[in-house]
Structure formats: structure tokens, C-alpha cells
């Protein structure tokens, strides 16, 4: 369970409303694939990932980024029960996709970095701290059903 104060919950909702979530998703996933190229191992079918430009412009990366961020956005509406909310996604990532949970932490941090990039001065240290709790909670929830 993520423990957020009322102030933190408000800050998160306000700032999430200010960003284009789809863009955040595509950019965070793209940056993950560029900065940590070994994460490309899960995306052999995505086509050209040969350069930063290719990755960031790749339509499959953008589409998948949107999928991921839609799930994340849904999580933001259920911060009191992230484990329940991400239960079937957790099973999927373990049993079918075989994704090391470390990748959830890496992607969570990329989402934080993209938010800082887009929001500038609005992404204060306090706001970052609140989002770090959220991404950690989501990463833990996604890892929860691993066996």
C-alpha cells in the first residue's frame, strides 16, 4: 500500500492532469530502451531500435508506451489497492512475458525523469518524492505475483 498524504495525492492528481499521458508513456519507454539498451530484449518485434532517433520515433514504441501509461494512469486511481489493481498484469509479466521486475523500477524512474523534463519548476522535490512513492508502489505491485 502506498502511503500518501492528502497534499501528495492532490499534487499527483494536479500534475498528472497537466501532462499528455500518452506522450509521457512513449517517451519514458523510449528513453528506457536508449539509456539501458539491454531492455530491448523484450521488443525484438518492434523493428528499428538501432539509434536514439529510431527508438524515439518508432511507432510501436509509442503505441506500447501508451499501453503502459494507461495501466499506470489506472493505478493512480487505485493507490489504496495497487496489488489488486495490477494482479493480472503481474501474472502476465511473470508467466508469459518473463520480465525481470528490476525493469519495472527502471521504467518507473524513467517516468519520473520524463515528468521532470516536461514539468520543469512544477516538479519540485516534494512532488518528486510523492511520485517516487507511486512508482515504487506500482513496481512492487507488478512484482507481487511473481513465483
Amino acid at each position: 500500500m502506498v502511503h500518501l498524504s492528502g497534499e501528495e495525492k492532490t499534487a499527483i492528481a494536479t500534475l498528472w492532469g497537466k501532462v499528455n499521458a500518452d506522450e509521457v508513456g512513449g517517451e519514458a519507454l523510449g528513453r528506457l530502451l536508449v539509456v539501458y539498451p539491454w531492455t530491448q530484449r523484450f521488443f525484438d518485434s518492434f523493428g528499428d531500435l538501432s539509434s536514439a532517433t529510431a527508438v524515439m520515433g518508432n511507432p510501436k514504441v509509442k503505441a506500447h508506451g501508451k499501453k503502459v501509461i494507461d495501466a499506470f494512469s489506472n493505478g493512480l486511481k487505485h493507490l489504496d489497492d495497487l496489488k489488486g489493481t495490477f494482479s493480472s498484469l503481474s501474472e502476465l509479466h511473470c508467466d508469459k512475458l518473463h520480465v525481470d521486475p528490476e525493469n519495472f523500477r527502471l521504467l518507473g524512474n524513467e517516468i519520473v525523469i520524463v515528468l521532470a523534463h516536461h514539468l520543469g519548476k512544477d516538479f519540485t522535490p516534494k512532488v518528486q518524492a510523492a511520485f517516487q512513492k507511486v512508482v515504487a508502489g506500482v513496481a512492487n505491485a507488478l512484482a507481487h505475483k511473481y513465483h
Binding site: G30, V35, V112, G120, Q132
Partner: protein, 142 residues
């Protein structure tokens, strides 16, 4: 994990832009680290960690000076950072996981202040550079 010529050029270009303000950004990165990852504060019981603290600023400047030295001495990080490697291994004994937390907050700080410069390629270069610095710092731990 050596940096390519292009990666070095990117890091150096950004460092030139930071100019005399590396300390300001390192201080903000420390502040972000203490707020987002409270366990990191356990290494600083002797400091006033409240926002705006002069002691955090002083520590930020220390971190900044070390990073600037590293940028200048990319060809010999173990040599340049030898004193700091010894210090962190034998005296400070900061768990190396914490270096990654500070590095992450440094990247967040730079993304927030230099959005136009913080391309994915720049982020990758910086991340690699910071990774090299932290593995040098942890190199004498055992």
C-alpha cells in the same frame, strides 16, 4: 563501460553549460534524494538537512567539485577519484545502492533545469558517466 568520444563530448558540453553552478544543481539533487529516499538521510545525522540548509549546500559543493574533477579526468577515474574511493570504502561506508539514488536525482535535476539539452542521447551519456563514477567510488569496498 568506457564512454565513447561522442558520449564524453556530450557530458563535457553540458558541464560547460553548468559553468559555476554545478554546486547549485548538486545541492538540489541532494535535497531531492533526502526527500524521495529518506533512508539516505541516515548517513548525515550530523548535518541540518532542512531545505535551504547551509550544510547541505556545502556538501552539494563537495559533490559538485568531485563530479567536475571526474568530467576533467575521464581517462583516469580510478586515479583522479582514488582519495574518494578510499574515503567511501573505509571511512564513510555508504551502501553503494545510495549512489544510484543520488545519480537518479541528479538526472531529474538536470532534466528539470535543462530540458532543451536533456535529449535521450544526453541522458544515456550522463547515466553512463555517473555509473562509472559510482563504480569507481565503490571499487575499494571489498
Amino acid at each position: 563501460m568506457a564512454l565513447s568520444a561522442a558520449e564524453r563530448a556530450m557530458v563535457r558540453a553540458l558541464w560547460r553549460k553548468l559553468g559555476d553552478n554545478v554546486g547549485v544543481y548538486a545541492t538540489e539533487a541532494l535535497e531531492r534524494t533526502f526527500l524521495a529516499f529518506p533512508g539516505t538521510k541516515t548517513y548525515f545525522p550530523h548535518l541540518d538537512l532542512s531545505p535551504g540548509s547551509a550544510q547541505v549546500k556545502a556538501h552539494g559543493q563537495k559533490v559538485a567539485d568531485a563530479l567536475t574533477l571526474a568530467v576533467d579526468q575521464l581517462d583516469d577515474l580510478p586515479g583522479a577519484l582514488s582519495f574518494l574511493s578510499d574515503l567511501h570504502a573505509h571511512k564513510l561506508r555508504v551502501d553503494p545502492a545510495n549512489f544510484q539514488l543520488l545519480c537518479h536525482c541528479l538526472l531529474v535535476t538536470l532534466a528539470r533545469h535543462f530540458p532543451g539539452d536533456f535529449s535521450p542521447a544526453m541522458q544515456a551519456s550522463l547515466d553512463k558517466f555517473l555509473s562509472r563514477v559510482t563504480s569507481t567510488l565503490a571499487s575499494k569496498y571489498r
